[in-house]
Symmetry: C2
Subunit: 733 residues, 2 copies
Amino acid sequence: MWGGRFLTKDNKLNNSYETLEPLFNPKSVAILGASESKYKIGYLQVKALLDGQFSGEIYPINRKAKEIEGLKCYPSLSDIPNDIDLAIFCLGAEQVQQALEDCAQKKVKAAIIFAAGFSETGEEGVKQQETLTELARKSGIRIVGPNCVGLVNLSNGLIGTFSPAILSVPLNDQRGVGYVSQSGAFGVLTYMAAAQNGLSFNYFVSVGNEMETEFSDIIEYMIHDPKTSVISGYLEGAKNPDKLRSLAKEALDRNKPIVVMKTGRSIAGSRAAVSHTGSLAGSDKVYDAFFKQSGMVRADDYEDIISFSKLFLSNKLPNGRNTVIVTSSGGRGINEADRCEAYGLNIIPLSSKTTTEIKRFLPNFASASNPVDLTAAASVSNPELFIAPLRALIEDPDVDNIIFTEFPFSWTAENPLLQEFIDICSRSNKFVFITTFPLDGMSLPPGTPELVKNGIPVIPGNLNPIRGLAKLVEYSEYYRKNQEANVFNSSKKIEKQRLQSLLEPGTTLSESQASVILERYQIPTTKRVIAENPEKASQHANKIGYPVVLKVDSPDIPHKTEADAIRLNLKNDQEVKKAFNEIKRNALNYKPDAKINGISVQEMLPDGVEVIVGASKDPVFGPVIMFGLGGIFVEIYKDISFRIAPLTRKDALEMIEDIKGKAILKGTRGKSSYDIEAIIDVLLKVSALVTDYKDSIEELDINPLIVYENGIKAADAMIVVGNKVDDKATIRG
Amino acid sequence: MWGGRFLTKDNKLNNSYETLEPLFNPKSVAILGASESKYKIGYLQVKALLDGQFSGEIYPINRKAKEIEGLKCYPSLSDIPNDIDLAIFCLGAEQVQQALEDCAQKKVKAAIIFAAGFSETGEEGVKQQETLTELARKSGIRIVGPNCVGLVNLSNGLIGTFSPAILSVPLNDQRGVGYVSQSGAFGVLTYMAAAQNGLSFNYFVSVGNEMETEFSDIIEYMIHDPKTSVISGYLEGAKNPDKLRSLAKEALDRNKPIVVMKTGRSIAGSRAAVSHTGSLAGSDKVYDAFFKQSGMVRADDYEDIISFSKLFLSNKLPNGRNTVIVTSSGGRGINEADRCEAYGLNIIPLSSKTTTEIKRFLPNFASASNPVDLTAAASVSNPELFIAPLRALIEDPDVDNIIFTEFPFSWTAENPLLQEFIDICSRSNKFVFITTFPLDGMSLPPGTPELVKNGIPVIPGNLNPIRGLAKLVEYSEYYRKNQEANVFNSSKKIEKQRLQSLLEPGTTLSESQASVILERYQIPTTKRVIAENPEKASQHANKIGYPVVLKVDSPDIPHKTEADAIRLNLKNDQEVKKAFNEIKRNALNYKPDAKINGISVQEMLPDGVEVIVGASKDPVFGPVIMFGLGGIFVEIYKDISFRIAPLTRKDALEMIEDIKGKAILKGTRGKSSYDIEAIIDVLLKVSALVTDYKDSIEELDINPLIVYENGIKAADAMIVVGNKVDDKATIRG
């Protein structure tokens, strides 16, 4: 399945975020199934809109009731004299289709459908849902649900949900974070936890079965929504990864961070695969690559969503990783410093100038090194001790980030010291934030709203804010790179080559067959000839020049070493003939029914660094490229990196940077560097090849690919061809 | 500093936990500096004992006051007619010495000293503290502090602290967890956070400056205290690591888990070191080794302390890693499953029998695979859905652990379903616990006390309970191994060898010098002779037999490859002579003032797997052993493991198991296994060597040590000798 499942059949309705406007900002809402009974969803929903002081018109629909909570009721949609933007279905599954037809009739623009009982229940439900989808598309109705918790917009009081949990959360000021969730229950829990930690999402959308509108449609709306500064989400599986990827780029261009919690690492499951790449590319690793390539920020938990959002809301981007901790408890200081180092932030030693400056104001038993320990006196009796060190650290050009692990409780909004603290921070481009110890009633000091308003996040320590800072630094680096010209484009256009005669559907290609394909894409391979008997082999060897290598050439024996069907460094005719016979015998012993094309006679390549470049087809993202050092580095250390094709030059470079073994490629112990440009070149060519033939090539391994100080050569290769071969020109973006 | 700093000079007072009894269970307490003024520590302390309903006598000491809070005051200690077990000093630093002298006079048995202003302030303070220590030891007074927050014993109401934070925590039932902290503030925060999450420590001890009584003394007391089932602590640096290590063994024998948060990973700092081992052995890695060897459980954060303690309190040990999640939110289920996999627990597929059994009772849209999703209906309207799956999972022999991510709020203590749930769990040896979503007022369901009482922990998800379960499984494995005979002993006694003539103080030994030492401990080395000129070299080569290796032999050139002063696989006289000259020239170019003993002519060893065995001296723990695969595996992948000497056979085995590269040693792709017994043998011999000469040998590298299918050989070695050489017989434990 190659994406696009949720693009419309006629490619018309679903490609505009503007048509989602009636979902988020309806002028009028009809509640189908409104009820007088206080325990029914149809009542809770009416009440929710009233409690939320929804700014538009509310029309409860109820066949019998005259009014609900003082609002006039209408027996049916068609009885309403005015236009309806949004219909909220408080109805059982069996009533949904008729109601949707009524909506079409009434030209309602959008709907929220809570009812469960559709595609999640099996075949019958899938069919019913398809009927609804068709109806919605034909009539242009945008729909959230079914099987969802609804939609909330805090800026206009549209509380489009029945969830008592969400209703119980006080409506804080809107704060610029939109939230979209593929799980209703988890979404609600996160919404509540955020509110309890001082963060109200301005939008909450539970997408349910994603019948007509899906995850990335909501993201798209939020990207274009001026009230949203940070987009967050909970994702179990991307329905339209291509769209999500291009949206991520758009968001990055606008510096609108997308923080997404992607679950399902554990249920990724491995597929049966022939190639190394295929067996190593678990889908979670591919998601990781997706996040890296797109600039989206991956959250691992609901705590991350809250703390990352709070940090990103500050609207300041850190300049680097150099971090100073200011604490009034030695223990907490060390603990937070440990976390910083664990997440790749640097706890830097302070300059003697800064140390001296801090010491001037601190008592002699305090510590002016990093972590700066103001001692318990600071938070309890001498809160002014917070000011002088801050001033000194702000002046220090080596410092990028300053983290306070406490904040004086006596500094209320009116306290001049709070204002002084804020002023110092505001005049600087350093990133300052406060991470508190999460005790009931103590995690958000009284100054919090004033601090947050001025771009200084206050985050309870249990929400992982230090990891959040590390993510913000990464995002900031990525954002700045994005602003540089062309890093996202590959340097040269690689032409699509015609391969139809070479890609026999449903087969595994032997080394010699695969090599021909690589050569078409100008990837250097070894000189080789296939020999049918020992005499021919030694003739070829003489032409190629000794020493030579002999290997079995068979689509059925991809791992030649395992079959003992490869001989290196053969120096004369006699050795070649002996090797020929041994290889043939071993190959047939290993796999008696193997189809053997012959024995391949090849030049013996000089030593270099062995790397592996591979590709496999991910069920969600399509062709995925792998890179790593060969041999045990792949097998034991799993020192590999993935990116989704097509690769940009930046992707290819980062794939090499991602692996620990890059140190070997860059030359250790005074050894000179290997040809990294040549690796990038092969990566981009493989990316072009598997993108051109994404419907045909299931798996590809170049293993080993031997890298020299100058140049590179594929010493072995295999390709698995799928059952369908498509040779039409495709577009590579 | 080789441990023992806190052992007493006369080795008498400090080695018995029994003398700590008056600190924890005094019959009478005198409060020095008791006060009528409600804001003074001297008042708060009196009030705390009264509020705690302390079971013993309370004697406030105040020169003027007649009574405080209804208790009769005494003008001085000597005026009290009865014996005093414990004195609590609510006094400034300047009054402490006189007061301690008074205590000695009165034969007070123990004291708590809050005052700061001693060793933490510098030289003068260190001296004052030493005077106090001497006084305390002479008079046999056990002391907690100075510079501490005090001591709490919830079983007798001894609230020996002034901390308003601790006083604000309600006194729950005692629950069997003792807690000792090297940080006052962090200790108090953890104490409060634990209480807010339903866990009261039965003891809280802030050890402050550890003047007379230190961290491990308190641990020792708790090990012998029948009221303590789990010991927890916060540690910045062990003052007496040897004692802690032997206590850990004792605790393990008694199945009394010790959970310790050790901070300071980031400030470990690296020392200048000549050997690989020296530069890689950061002190935090050595602490990790310490935890692994001792069976103590390392916590990374205060959350870990709370959740690990709660899990360990259940008093059940998991049988393995096979884990099933039961949830009523698909999202939470996946999220917790991800965490399980991340921490090394197995989310197993359920057998068809179990699946069928679960399906019989669940609605058709629920999921009977793992995670088992009961859907929202379970927690809200049909809580009885929790029972049937539990019963089926308890019956399944493949399941070790069952985690519920929700628990019905309607199940109060009287609810028969709660009792049924508990009964099912109690009759099984499977580990069951509940991890809740941490929302205010929702994280501890009403059934919690009943569940906990019956060994079913209930832990808010933000406290990392899944990591806790993984740690509990590890502990359980360790505990069971400990019960097997002899795994902690090395298999044979290795005699101490006399080396005094070989260990010249303050020098680095060349390969040939180091090899002689290795040979004394029967570690196999290469055949070699030192040649002074090219002719001698070729003569030696002929005797040894071609091919040979030539290397510079110099204490000043430990890294021969870097100096290009090594030539391998020399096949004849001519090659040897040429190599001799090149090596000499390169060595002198590399380091013109190097002392060169000559050029070492050695047998050329056949290929094998290159490993490295090393030792270095840790400032806290003394000699530390390192093991890893050689070359880039050490340098780039840091695939190494550490243990503190002396090693047991179990330690040596685990060092090999710890590294990823063990797969190579065990034979990959059908290759046969290498001689792992020989590696263990070398590890134990090196351990013996550096333990025998722990005052002399600063660093040691055997690199490479070449391992064969049968046998092993040290191909190169170096030793750094410290300034002091002690050749006396030492005891190895």
